[in-house]
Amino acid sequence: MNPNLKWKALFIFSVILFCIYFLFGYPVFPTSVAQVKDNFGKQIKLGLDLQGGTHLVLQVQVQEAIAQETDTTVDRLTTLLRSKNIHYDEVRRIDDMHILVRNIDPSQASEFRDLVTQQYNNVWDLARAAGDPNGYTLTLRPGAVAQIQESTMTQSLETIARRINALGLTEPTIQPRGGRNANEILVQLPGVGDPAEAMGVIQAGGQLELRLVRDPVTYPSVAAFMAQHTVLPPGTELVTGSLESRGANGVTDKSEVWYLLDRAPVVTGRDLRSAVETRNTSNPGMWQVNFTLSPEAAKRFGPFTEQNIGNKMAIVLDHKVQSAPVINGRIEDTGMIEGNFSQESAHELALVLRAGALPASIKYLEERTVGPSLGADSIRHGVQASVLSLVVVMLFMLVYYRLSGGNAVLALFFNLVILLAFLAMSGAVLTLPGIAGVILTIGMGVDSNVLVFERIREELRNGKSAAAAVDAGFDKAFLTIIDTHVTTVVSAAFLGVFGTGPIRGFAITLVVGLVANIFTAVYVSKTIFQYHLMKMDRQAELSI
């Protein structure tokens, strides 16, 4: 045998064998048909549209985190000014990114400016307020905004990932989506037919705050507070909570109460080291969540509780007061959340607290749930139709081009095997638009073969010998094949780069299919022809 041809054949066989092994014989070497099927099922991952599952796009409300930063700064600044004895009328939030400081004592103006510049150098810009000679505005710098945005997104992604992973689903996808300022996250949960639980866990707040209660009295409504005090003391806000009292007849009576709390929390969910659900010690039918603080938080919490013995401390979860126990002594690093918890709800709360709170709330932009039955229908129809049309195409090629048609059938088959093997290796998923890519690949595969064969026939008609005609046919058709393929790859590259989701899936399948096609329809097919020409009688006619 021609040594060159031998190496070519060896190369082709090893590529195809490797692909087949990868598709059907891996990860467990099969000993039964069922195992072959099982391997194949494991290797070719189906998209949500084919296997069923839930696809969610959610948007992190980053604006909230920015507003929170502004609130915290208002509190810190107030404390700072008081401690330095700088006189002012008011420190107030104008909007999410601006703070107004009114009427600084003119003699202390430079001291004030130095203080702010020194404390908030890279975060806040200081400027004179319009219409108030002794007033100043602080503006959050764009760089600081971008930083808050970034950390909010990173933290949200991590938190959502931890929460989803705690559900124990197989291969969820959690990744950022859209541009830098889109603040969007894509969550894909294959095989989850009912998204309610996942959505519940993602959306669960878990924003824990411990805040000092400023007023030992509680109020039944905001109006009731205003009737007595007319104005909120600076740095405080009214927060609602529900009070449950069990009457003598055993009927639970739920009523709303309002607490006057410090705006700034002493401890937040970020300071937690652990959280576990346990039975309530005083009421064994009920459950509670015990938590431990990180060492740094404990250093703050200890002195704070010591100073406030006798005052109340509110445990605020998702902007609702859960309970407001009296501080009886110095507390270092433990606490508990009591409330009307069952074991299940206590467990869920502990899970959410452990996973950390979302730094800002989220909004769902898109939700798609493909039921498993619809996915199964789609794939059955799709596969049946594809197989049937493939058989028809192959039969036609055999009839029309006789032996050479067999060559084309082999090339098409190899093309599919390589395409599927690559999808398996790269971990890409097969989706409905991906099947469109496969169909276009088959179409172009058939086309490449037809181009070559028609060229060979032409050359034969012009009186060339079989060997010369095959050579010339491949040579001339090659240029056409390259042009058609490169054009399509160029357009597919644009789709892959700029498109998302289904459009990208289509592009990836198409590019891989086309590269495989050049290999099979030109290289493999030509090698088979050469082998055949070598074996056959020099004078015999080519079966084409």
């Binding site: 549209d49 069923g52 095989g191 009912d194 909004k363 769902y364 932009l365 898109e366 939700e367 798609r368 749930t369 493909v370 039921g371 498993p372 039955s373 619809l374 199964a376 229908d377 789609s378 059955r380 129809h381 799709g382 049946q384 139709a385 049937l388 049309s389 028809v392 195409v393 036609f396 409905l432 638009p433 469109a436 890519g437 169909i439 088959i442 179409g443 172009m444 058939v446 086309d447 037809v450 028609e454 026939r457 240029l479 056409t480 042009d483 058609t484 054009t487 399509t488 160029v490 357009s491 597919a492 590259a493 644009f494 700029f498 998302t500 989701g501 289904p502 459009i503 289509f506 084409i544």
Partner: protein, 437 residues
């Protein structure tokens, strides 16, 4: 050997006016329908809203469904799927609604469905809504196989098989528990346990889609941009590979003012332009057919449109490639003759490939089921139009340009004739051939 055409000798370019007329009619009909008729029907991907796909065990009473859902907010309830599948899609449009409202819309639809068709007087859960996890938990509790502590994940596997049967064989809505006995591993005690713990709800939810207005707008924009980028990329590549007359230097250096520059640039790019115009024409006609026949445009349909772009371009390039080759061989023939000959030479390839691909997508259209219907329809139309536009639009456009720009110039040396000579011989002083290949 079997041959479709022995030696076809058709004057394609002479028939160009009929092709233009045909395309004109198709474009007019389709776009009259889009602009003044039923318009483009966007699917939920692009307009946003809430879609709930429900399959009923019995033919549903649409009026009852409507009244239970509250007439005001429901935009449409329509049958989909096979005639006897009892499957409907309930759609609430998302116009002007924010995401929160959409989510509530979904909940309302599901609650109303449960109220109207739900399980009256039973507190057992609905088997047709059971998930694998909940079913496995039920089975472990009942323990019909008497495995007690040795159960391991046996019940998980059994639950998966049972649900597989429900979803694949019963299309998601089981109407009789006894059917399950055909499923692998379901024995009489298992069946009894299922009957004991579940009831059969009269409907199953097959698919829920909630697309907010923001995502809808984004997807619409992306689909358009991505298609334009892809066409632009193709234009550049083809213009580069099939260059018309004039070297690049001449295009930029010739001192003929702006108009002269543009004309020369067009000379250079005419193959690419014609190919892209033809493909664009295919997309427009296919969209027209979508409007005429009331198919919805979804993201999957966009993938199909992109497929047809690729396919039609492929077809055009095969013919252009032959023109390029023949142009070098047949110097003493007119450009139109060269194009005719090229189309004739590639005709059997065109018919064969198109025929086979058409067959493929026709099978997909007829057997592909509801999800693939609009998708394969785009391909069925697109392949016919795409094949036709290669010889009916793209090639005649190049010939027409050549005729207009090359008046008085020797045949085959017009701008589009391209690379006839390797040397830089100057044919007319105005139209120099490109020196490629």
């Amino acid at each position: 050997m079997i041959e479709l055409f022995k030696q076809p000798n058709i004057d394609w370019m002479g028939k160009a006016k009929y092709f233009y007329a045909l395309s004109g009619i198709l474009l007019l009909a389709g776009w009259a329908s889009i602009l003044y008729g039923s318009g483009i029907r966007y699917g939920i991907d692009f307009k946003g809203g809430t879609n709930v796909d429900v399959r009923f065990a019995q033919p549903p009473n649409v009026d009852k469904l409507r009244s239970s859902l509250g007439n005001t907010e429901i935009q449409s309830i329509k049958d989909i799927g096979d005639p006897n599948s009892n499957e409907v899609v309930i759609f609430v449009e998302g116009k002007g609604q924010d995401e929160q409202a959409l989510e509530e819309g979904r909940v309302r639809i599901l609650t109303a469905l449960n109220a109207a068709y739900g399980l009256s007087g039973s507190n057992k859960p609905n088997f047709n809504a059971a998930t694998a996890a909940s079913l496995a938990a039920q089975l472990s509790e009942k323990d019909p196989l008497l495995l007690s502590a040795n159960a391991g994940d046996r019940y998980q596997q059994l639950a998966k098989k049972i649900l597989d049967y429900r979803d694949k064989n019963a299309h998601g809505v089981l109407t009789n528990f006894d059917d399950l006995s055909k499923a692998d591993g379901v024995t009489a005690p298992v069946l009894a346990a299922l009957k004991d713990s579940y009831v059969l709800g009269p409907f199953g939810i097959r698919n829920v889609e909630v697309v907010g207005p923001k995502v809808g707008a984004e997807l619409r924009q992306q689909a358009i941009y991505v298609t334009l980028y892809a066409l632009g990329g193709m234009l550049v590549y083809i213009a580069f590979r099939f260059q018309g007359g004039g070297s690049v230097g001449q295009v930029f250096l010739a001192q003929r003012g702006f108009v002269g520059f543009v004309l020369r640039l067009l000379d250079k790019m005419i193959f690419g332009l014609a190919a892209v115009l033809a493909v664009f024409h295919d997309v427009l006609i296919t969209l027209g057919f979508f409007s005429l026949l009331h198919f919805e445009i979804s993201l999957t349909v966009i993938a199909a449109l992109l497929t047809l772009v690729g396919y039609s371009m492929n077809d055009t390039i095969v013919i252009f490639d032959r023109i390029r080759e023949n142009n070098r061989l047949l110097r003493n023939q007119s450009f139109a003759d060269v194009v005719n000959k090229s189309i004739n030479q590639t005709l059997s390839r065109t018919i064969l490939t198109s025929g086979l691909t058409f067959l493929t997508v026709l099978v997909l259209f007829l057997m592909g089921g509801q999800v693939l219907r609009a998708f394969s329809f785009a391909l069925v139309v697109g392949i016919v139009v795409g094949t036709y536009s290669s010889f009916g639009i793209a090639a005649p456009l190049v010939v027409a340009w050549n005729r207009w720009r090359g008046q008085g110039v020797a045949a085959g040396t017009g701008p589009a004739a391209g690379n006839k000579t390797r040397s830089s011989e100057n044919v007319s002083g105005r139209l120099a051939p490109a020196g490629r290949r």
